[in-house]
């Protein structure tokens, strides 16, 4: 472990010796950032690929099936086979489509889904951009994902794709507000927009002092917000039961209906990357990030990244569990849930927490 932590120092020293102090520092920062970006993007693509396998396996087990088990041992090579298949398929552009925008749409949907990962802290030390407005940046990036969907729907020149895009635009705009308010409550109790600060703030409190850190996390005082945030997250990523955007019984595959090969794969990549993103944010905002649930000496050897990734994995599996359990919502019911249930609930809790913080029983000092 010590070797890993001393590596950046060693690299900085080497770079300074080789290029001189000023230039060496620049080159070191540039290289470090590039390496981190490579790790995050590579890791994310790997997790996206294996999330598709895990989804099929888990839903298979829930429905008493085997799931994919032909390619490789236990079906472990299935995502690679799928990837190769999608890469080799022809990208067909419909004759009436707006060609430039048709090609641009998958890029527009993938780029924000990946860019948002820049501010995510993976452990107290490892974060690509530790900026003070991290939460704000995240909300801005997640709100950009809708462009990929709208542009794809319009550029396809197909009524099914267009209907899907229209549904998606209305749905994402509606649930973004509830999500934003849930994050405002988190921001109020943490007193910071910096994600590392938000996680650290959850490690303080009466329960944390006696070793039961998990009772000091935000999920307990902000319980309704956790529910609102997680369910809105499912709606934002267009996952079942809110997947009317691509409801296959009505409009085939929504905005993606005209895409084939890599174009289609890019939308899938964006969708699953956003799923990881929402799961990661739920953990960072409400479940203490990289902190261990209990502060006992027995568990001290577990590295913090294990806790973080373990929690994220559990939350992502909830997405799949929900997909396997619930039938698709009707469109007007989705709108009702977003506008008439979630937004009032978040507003009430916002006022409640605000009043609580002004009383002598304020627990977030």
């Amino acid at each position: 472990m010590d070797l890993i932590y001393s590596l950046p120092q060693l690299a900085l020293q080497l770079s300074k010796d080789f290029f001189g102090v000023d230039l060496g520092t620049y080159i070191y920062i540039l290289l470090k950032t590039l390496v981190l970006i490579g790790c995050i993007v590579g890791g994310l693509q790997g997790s996206v690929a294996y999330l598709t396998l895990w989804e099929r396996k888990l839903i298979g087990w829930m429905q008493i099936r085997m799931g994919p088990n032909r390619v490789g041992p236990l079906g472990l090579l299935q995502p690679i086979a799928d990837g190769v298949k999608l890469l080799l398929k022809e990208l067909i552009v419909p004759s009436g489509a707006n060609k430039g925008l048709f090609v641009l749409a998958p890029v527009l949907s993938v780029a924000p889904a990946f860019a948002a990962w820049a501010v995510i802290p993976f452990s107290p030390e490892v974060v690509l951009a530790d900026i003070n407005a991290g939460l704000l940046y995240l909300t801005a990036m997640t709100s950009l994902g809708v462009y990929g969907v709208i542009v794809a729907g319009w550029a396809s020149n197909s009524k099914y794709a267009f209907l899907g895009a229209m549904r998606s635009a209305a749905q994402i705009v509606a649930y973004e507000i509830a999500m934003g308010f849930a994050l405002v409550v988190v921001l109020m109790v943490s007193g910071s927009l910096n994600l590392s600060e938000i996680v650290n703030a959850q490690g303080r409190g009466q329960f944390a002092d006696i070793g039961l850190t998990f009772l000091s996390w935000n999920w307990l005082p902000l319980a309704p917000m956790v529910l609102v945030y997680f369910i809105s997250g499912i709606a934002e990523t267009n996952r079942a039961p809110f997947d009317v955007v691509e409801g296959e019984s009505e409009i085939v595959a929504g905005h993606m209906v005209e895409y084939s090969g890599m174009g289609f794969a890019m939308f899938m990549l964006a969708e699953y990357a956003s799923m990881w993103m929402i799961a990661m944010l739920t953990v960072l905002m409400f479940f203490g990030g990289w902190q261990a649930p209990v502060n006992w000496a027995v568990l001290a050897w577990v590295p913090s990244i294990v806790w973080l990734l373990g929690k994220v994995f559990c939350v992502v599996s909830m997405f799949l569990w929900i997909r396997a359990s619930f039938p698709r919502y009707r469109y007007d019911q989705i709108m009702r849930l977003g506008w008439k249930v979630f937004i009032p609930v978040t507003l009430v809790w916002l006022v409640f927490i605000g009043v609580w913080m002004q009383t002598p029983w304020n627990i977030w000092t």
Partner: protein, 202 residues
């Protein structure tokens, strides 16, 4: 040329090009998307000025919400491009006059010696740990508390007025009451009728 200047000119070129495209491209959807691009680049320039809150808020509010609804409407409209171009020459004198007037007024404001744009000193270099978001919040909630709250109330009134204007009962739509739907009982809806078996007349 410093690295900041290079980044500035990069963003500025894209911004001006995108802004020109907004008014020159024929397809309204393309125009709206170019507007998105120019908002995004403007946000980059603000970021360069260390105004990260305004920069991200511009992306969040204008790109993430306003332009989405704008595109939503533009895509739904069936715009006949040929009919739009009819009467271009008859509107040109009026439009050009207004355009020249606006340019003239802006020029007067910027060039006037009393505006102080030419002699404005460069802002002091903020130290490390300077947070534009924190500073903005401090100023808004201490020095300018009343004007800020007043603006918020005006916005709230406008919002309520906009909702009140569209609020009307339509007789031809059937509303659902979900609370009543889930309260429903089997006994209220299903009537079991016991019918004796009839004998066939022989």
């Amino acid at each position: 040329m410093t690295i900041e200047a290079i980044i500035f000119y990069f963003f500025a070129t894209i911004l001006v090009a995108a802004a020109v495209c907004v008014v020159t491209v024929r397809n309204p959807v393309h125009a709206a998307l170019f507007l998105v691009l120019s908002f995004f680049t403007a946000s980059g320039i603000w970021m360069l000025l260390r105004a990260e809150f305004l920069a991200i808020a511009l992306v969040l509010v204008y790109v993430g919400a306003v332009m989405v609804l704008f595109l939503f409407v533009v895509m739904m409209l069936d715009i006949n491009l040929d009919r739009l171009r009819v009467g271009f020459w008859s509107y040109l004198p009026l439009g050009a006059t207004i355009g020249i007037l606006i340019a003239l007024e802006m020029g007067l404001v910027i060039m006037a010696p009393r505006s102080g744009f030419g002699t404005m000193p460069a802002p002091v270099e903020p130290g490390a740990g300077y947070s534009n978001t924190g500073e903005l919040g401090r100023v808004l909630y201490t020095d300018y508390l009343y004007p800020f709250e007043l603006a918020a109330v005006v916005l709230l009134v406008a919002m309520i007025a906009a909702i009140a204007l569209t609020l009307r009962k339509r007789k031809d739509t059937k509303y659902q009451k979900p609370s009543e739907q889930i309260k429903i009982n089997k006994r209220d809806r299903v009537r079991l009728v016991s019918m004796p078996v009839e004998k066939k007349e022989s």
